[in-house]
């Protein structure tokens, strides 16, 4: 890291560790922890089944990538490879996951989840997030989610409790709205915000809004005069080079990737849950997706353009993972469609990456000057 952890980050880390201890207690009392990767999975559905949902976007490393690389050929996305390494070694949070929501999104994750059981012994409940954006696809996602619930119950989850799901979804919504607000205003430093989002991915939502509010009551700073938007593949907790370098360079960051703003409930169109029904939650999750994978993916471009215009960002960094065809092939269209300078960074977790990314980001910031 370029700078020591801030007190806000330390608070988030402490809260995260406390949550992981609570996960252990939950498992000791026969509770099931469900891991998932894509924000298109409605965590509240798992909560409605009495499970503890955790979005596992952390512990990415060269070591885990290497472990994953022993199970599959190297020419796949480093995030997927690191995930495979994490599940196979059972390290850290991976060891606490009882079952995975095998949400098939891109081809890499679809095939990874299809093979995960054979390669690692993990238990996976398979489901697919359609890539088309039609009403028909949304209905299909709802049907699949209902089947997912039946399967989860066969695995040992509880009966689906609509009130429990709704309560979880509403708490998550409140915390998410708060995160969305500070993301848009830029009143929290980029690295601090990054930690808050990652706490949001793993923690129970009930106390989160209050916790975030308490953190922010003392930390709200003046929004930076200059901001850069960050889009592309999801950022794991450890994958911080881009954010750190931009922050050190005096820029604020508008985090438009799916581990940040895209993962919190949308207020436009309204994303507040009303009934807690499986189909409702699946529909909200389905409509929240603005991924390069969507077909067509006009929504993704529209979303990014609109928020960049709204916030006055001066540049856009599109950070992609190596071998992620879906984001990387959009690089020319990003350059063509955006009215601001665009830097496309193709990244991995391997050694030497950090220096390479730093050099390119510093050059990009200089061009904005």
């Amino acid at each position: 890291m370029l700078e020591p952890m801030s007190s806000l980050q330390e608070n988030c880390l402490r809260a995260m560790k406390a949550e992981f201890r609570a996960v252990d207690d939950f498992r000791n009392s026969k509770g099931k922890v469900l891991g998932y990767l894509c924000q298109g999975f409605p965590a509240a559905v798992a909560a409605g089944l009495g499970m503890w949902p955790v979005r596992v976007l952390q512990e990415t490393s060269t070591d885990l990538e290497d472990h994953g690389g022993m199970l599959v050929r190297p020419d796949i996305c480093p995030l997927v490879k690191s995930f495979l390494g994490g599940v196979s070694t059972g390290s850290g949070i991976y060891g606490a996951i009882d079952v995975w929501a095998g949400l098939a999104t891109c081809d890499q994750t679809r095939r990874c989840f299809a093979e995960l059981g054979s390669l690692t012994g993990a238990h996976v409940l398979q489901i697919q997030l359609p890539s088309t954006r039609s009403d028909s696809s949304e209905r299909y996602y709802g049907t699949m989610m209902e089947r997912f619930c039946s399967e989860a119950m066969s695995y040992g989850a509880g009966d689906y409790d609509r009130d429990r799901a709704l309560s979880y979804a509403r708490d998550r919504y409140s915390a998410g709205v708060l995160l969305a607000r500070v993301s848009m205003t830029g009143s929290v430093k980029p690295m601090d915000l990054h930690w808050m989002y990652h706490l949001y991915h793993v923690a129970r939502p009930a106390p989160l809004e209050d916790f975030f509010s308490s953190l922010l009551s003392e930390r709200i700073s003046e929004a930076p005069s200059r901001r850069i938007a960050l889009a592309g593949s999801p950022l794991s907790l450890e994958d911080t080079t881009v954010i750190e370098v931009l922050q050190k360079g005096g820029f604020g960051v508008l985090p438009l990737h799916c581990a940040a703003l895209q993962s919190v409930p949308s207020t436009d169109p309204p994303g507040e849950p009303v009934s807690g029904g499986v189909r409702e939650l699946a529909g909200l999750a389905f409509r929240s997706v603005r991924c390069a994978r969507s077909r067509p993916n006009d929504d993704m471009f529209g979303y990014i353009s609109e928020l960049i215009d709204h916030t006055g960002c001066e540049g856009l960094v599109v950070k992609t993972m190596r071998f992620c065809d879906l984001w990387f092939t959009e690089r020319e269209r990003f350059r063509e469609k955006m009215n601001i300078p665009v830097l496309v960074l193709d990244t991995a977790f391997s050694s030497g990456e950090r220096e390479r990314q730093m050099a390119r980001l510093e050059a990009f910031m200089e061009t904005l000057a």
């Binding site: 891109c106 028909s136 699949m144 065809d325 990387f328």
Partner: protein, 477 residues
């Protein structure tokens, strides 16, 4: 052909060129495409050298079966673009099917005055042309070397020298490779009209799914979740609606049924041809001709009617050779190799046969296209069921089991998996196939990526195939 006395052999493009003047006029007269468009049809029976001179230079490095029927097959395939341009000039609608591998044309050929081609087919254009123009165009638009060769389809949408501008692109997405999904999006970005439809994933059942309803496809026997079929039917109806709008003709069940029967005829012929050739010891037709013939099942070379004549000729030829115990292969007892994934350098199949091997079965990702389509019921449901047999939408283990089934059926002694660096399915398929083939059959498996090497074979790949054939030979003794 009784009047054709050239013995079964594998011959070069130059040798074919010398033989062209001996072709009986009656045979040449039969080889006509688009009889419905141009009175009397358009003659297409040219030599491989002719097509090589038009740009497909790899043909100079291949060996071809010496029969007239095989010549017709090659010429039919390489004249596809002539059909597409001719039809477009005459006001027919041109449809680009993308990614579904065999289902969309069954629907689109129900409509009059339309031709359908597969944009995906363009993956082999840079390999046959031995030049990078299409790939360069694709790279300029964002589809570079990180994608497999299907990116050439994007380049071809710009250069428009392989096909005219399509009136509609029908793009299957969802449970498909990331490479072509990305390419299709960029194609839409060029301004082409694209109709997107969703191909549902087909996961394998797990232990906890007892309460979940699974069904089996009628011919492939593939297990699928019950909710997938009605969804898929809905998706295919959206394709039909798009075609209705494009053509101004509302397809009736009878029209769809007629098209389905036509494709069933093509599939039945290819299936029979595969069984005859791959069971043959030695095979009565070389692997390259089979490579071409198999793909007719999905793309029909943009003319289903003529496809049937071409296939009938091949079946008759093969039956005759089997009766007479003839083979074009030099080795009377070649080592039998099951080939997985179409090789981007087609000359590797020639190499395998030069080394004393033969193709004994394939899984070129289109094996579902050899299965019959249900008749007597709803044609859309029949197409949807076939879509659920597609290896691409299933798991790597599913595909591996299909490889095992084929390798067992045709008595393969080894399996070659030719991969493509960067293709999203290859890293996963390769491991599963290797693991399951070894468990179930205990035969050697070799896998390698085939790099783009215009004008020559990649030496590493050559060495590996040589070593593999030697290994299989050694295992016999």
């Amino acid at each position: 052909m009784s009047s054709w006395s050239y013995p079964p052999a594998r011959i070069t493009a130059g040798e074919w060129d010398a033989l062209m003047k001996e072709i009986p006029a009656g045979f040449e007269e039969k080889c006509r495409f688009l009889r419905q468009v141009v009175p009397g049809g358009v003659s297409y029976l040219h030599s491989p050298r002719h097509y090589s001179c038009r740009g497909d230079r790899l043909l100079e490095r291949l060996k071809f079966d010496s029969s007239l029927e095989a010549l017709r097959l090659w010429a039919f395939l390489f004249s596809e673009k002539d059909r597409l341009f001719t039809a477009k000039e005459r006001g027919w609608k041109i449809v680009a099917a993308m990614k579904d591998l065999g289902q969309v044309p069954i629907l689109t050929y129900a409509y009059p005055e339309t031709l359908t081609f597969y944009a995906d087919e363009l993956w082999w254009a840079p390999c046959f042309a031995e030049e990078t123009r299409l790939l360069d165009e694709a790279a300029r638009l964002g589809a570079g070397e990180e994608l497999c060769f299907v990116r050439a389809a994007l380049g071809a949408m710009v250069t428009l020298d392989y096909f005219p501008p399509p009136d509609l692109c029908i793009a299957g997405v969802g449970a498909c490779c990331d490479d072509f999904s990305a390419v299709m999006q960029l194609i839409e970005g060029l301004g082409y009209p694209v109709l997107w439809w969703e191909m549902p994933a087909r996961p394998d059942p797990s232990d906890t799914e007892g309460a979940v309803e699974y069904n089996r496809t009628p011919y492939g026997g593939s297990l699928y979740r019950a909710e997938a079929l009605p969804f898929l039917e809905e998706q295919l109806h959206s394709v039909i609606a798009g075609m209705d709008e494009l053509t101004g003709v509302a397809a009736t069940p009878a029209m769809l049924g007629e098209s389905l029967n036509l494709f069933n005829g093509i599939r039945r012929r290819i299936s029979e041809l595969r069984d005859l050739v791959y069971s043959g010891r030695p095979p009565p037709l070389p692997g390259l001709e089979m490579f071409l013939a198999e793909f007719i099942a999905i793309h029909t070379c943009a003319e289903p009617e003529e496809s049937i004549y071409v296939l009938d000729g091949l079946i008759e030829l093969v039956r005759g050779r089997l009766e007479r115990g003839e083979s074009p292969l030099e080795n009377p007892d070649p080592v039998r190799v099951f080939w997985v994934t179409p090789p981007t350098d087609a000359s590797l199949i020639t190499l395998l046969e030069d080394l004393g091997g033969c193709i004994a079965g394939t899984e070129y990702l289109i094996s579902h296209a050899f299965l019959p389509l249900s008749t007597g019921g709803d044609p859309v449901r029949a197409v949807a069921e076939n879509c659920l047999d597609d290896c691409m939408t299933g798991t790597p283990a599913f595909r591996a089991r299909r490889v095992v089934e084929g390798a067992r059926r045709y008595g393969a002694e080894g399996v070659i998996i030719s991969g493509i660096f960067g293709a999203s399915h290859c890293p996963w398929d390769e491991g599963a196939i290797r693991r399951i083939v070894r468990e179930e059959l205990g035969i050697p498996v070799i896998s390698f990526d085939v790099p783009y090497s215009p004008g020559r074979q990649n030496e590493q790949v050559v060495n590996r195939i040589e070593g593999f054939v030697e290994l299989l030979r050694a295992l016999r003794s």
